[in-house]
Subunit: 195 residues, 2 copies
């Protein structure tokens, strides 16, 4: 267990509180003053940790990235590559159900809000989607070799499509507040890719 | 051809200019004053047509909805149900390529930006996705009966997943600015659903 200094604790707390506001209202609509008000951190301490809102936003994305890849690591578990993929699908559904489909996916949200206007954010999001797709591609390839996933479609294209369908499914479930939207997507993907 | 009065022309022009700003920057980050500046419309005329920003935003969504269902009507063409679906896929890809993947899908953007905070917008977006899914469900059912699309998956679930994958694919292509992301999704869907 890592012991955090007081400064590190403050930093982490600001990042987590900022993330809640950003998920709820978007980057552009969240102000540093609001985050100061919510956390009770002094202005001086805030600017000691984060030069500006852009930096704070980037730290929020980095923190969420770390959390997501930890989530992937504990989700991709199972005896076979296919079981790993399947367990990940169900973990993702459960995670979104637990959040009552509020907030959706921070990376998807940021992609839509910022990718035309902030290249640094866009590049980080691109990297996250690309790393996620690569992990899935590797497992799909293994599952194809093992004869559990249809082998007629290139694994990378399949991974791209699955990530897109999951992101779209999270969005649709967020609009409708019905878990069936994401559950449907996952069910259909499972049926379509298995041999 | 419908002849528009001067007032109607102003209204339409404001809606179209507001839409460009909203697609680029989101609803919350677009102000009435900016739209006034861009269109050169007098403040009085603006508030004659739209009571407030919320109303203007809703009119933008209604206008975009009308345009999108016109697009669906001219895209779903072909001899067989499957050809209609296929022609729609390619039309959507072409439309996004022509826009250089800037802006993405206004409905998806709005879903992510507003669905947790504005129920009226959320309901309209829900309706648009639902109508779109219904049209696709009907065609998929016909194509299943005709033996062109796999019949083992419920047509409505399949339609939900396709819409999700397209929305997700548009988002991924917007982040990467690579048309291959959306093209990949469409290619994989085509392979997976055809018999």
């Amino acid at each position: 267990m890592t012991v955090q200094t007081k400064g590190e604790k403050t930093r982490t707390r600001v990042i987590r509180e900022a993330r809640k506001l950003i998920v709820e209202k978007g980057f552009k609509n969240t102000s540093i003053n609001e985050i100061i008000a919510v956390t009770g951190v002094k202005k001086g301490a805030m600017y000691f940790h984060f030069a500006n809102k852009e930096e704070l936003g980037f730290s929020v994305l980095l923190d969420a990235k770390k959390e997501f890849f930890n989530f992937l690591e504990v989700s991709f578990v199972g005896e076979s590559p296919y079981e790993k993929i399947d367990h990940f699908f169900l973990s993702l559904l459960k995670q979104q159900q637990n959040a009552h489909f509020v907030g959706g996916c921070l990376f998807g949200n940021t992609a839509l809000e910022m990718s035309d206007s902030n290249e640094r954010y866009a590049n980080l999001i691109k990297e996250i989607f690309s790393d996620w797709t690569n992990i899935l591609t590797r497992l799909l390839k293994e599952a194809q070799l093992g004869g559990q996933v249809i082998g007629t479609i290139d694994a990378e294209s399949l991974a791209h499509t699955i990530v897109a369908a999951l992101e779209g499914g999270i969005m649709m479930a967020r609009v409708s507040k019905k878990s069936s939207n994401l559950a449907d997507c996952i069910g259909v993907i499972r049926s379509l890719i298995t041999v």
